[in-house]
Amino acid sequence: DVKVTQSSRYLVKRTGEKVFLECVQDMDHENMFWYRQDPGLGLRLIYFSYDVKMKEKGDIPEGYSVSREKKERFSLILESASTNQTSMYLCASRGRGQETQYFGPGTRLLVL
């Protein structure tokens, strides 16, 4: 059974804190993605990675960075969290040439 896991379901942080969101997949997928989901805005792509140590900006990369040191793990980093980064964060993975993108359960982040 395919699996994408995220380190936390809920997270509360203070403005200015450095925040790490972790995502792990067990399917040996090359492609991994970070989206944020907000009401009325749908799923917006923050960053993605198509291989270890490779990363590409998505549509809304400002205020975020990523790290992919191992194939199975893709981390999203908020260097200095702000209240407008309060959101649901979804990680996804997809094998090269494959049709299905698998999503993790999401991390609901609240920045106070």
């Binding site: 749908g42 799923l43 198509y50 698998y102 999503f103």
Partner: protein
């Protein structure tokens, strides 16, 4: 650029049909459809590739008009289990290694008894 979905919300009675539309201003390689139930992760329904095709999945099917860069998702004889938010995702091309999918804002579908 996000694809445009319509309608944004729809309420159906069990057994009724619905159509959800997705359009893009870009030339598309493929269109994906996902469903997300409340509190859960989005789940893949189907993909339609360039070449214009129609696909079916139980009573849920979809078409892709390559000339218009439009896709439609058809839900027939709706069931309570169809309730959720439907997202279309578009790929503009497969750039030899990575496959970026851009999603629309979603269509919230509620099926009532």
């Amino acid at each position: 650029q996000q694809p445009v979905q319509s309608p944004q919300a729809v309420i159906l009675r069990e057994g009724e049909d619905a159509v959800i539309n997705c359009s893009s201003s870009k030339a598309l390689y493929s269109v994906h459809w996902y469903r997300q139930k409340h509190g859960e992760a989005p789940v893949f329904l189907m993909i339609l590739l360039k070449g214009g095709e129609q696909k079916g999945h139980e009573k849920i099917s979809a078409s892709f008009n390559e000339k218009k860069q439009q896709s439609s998702l058809y839900l027939t004889a709706s069931q309570l289990s169809y309730s959720g938010t439907y997202f279309c995702g578009t790929e503009e091309g497969y750039s030899g290694g990575y496959q970026k999918v851009t999603f629309g804002i979603g269509t919230k579908l509620q099926v009532i008894p």
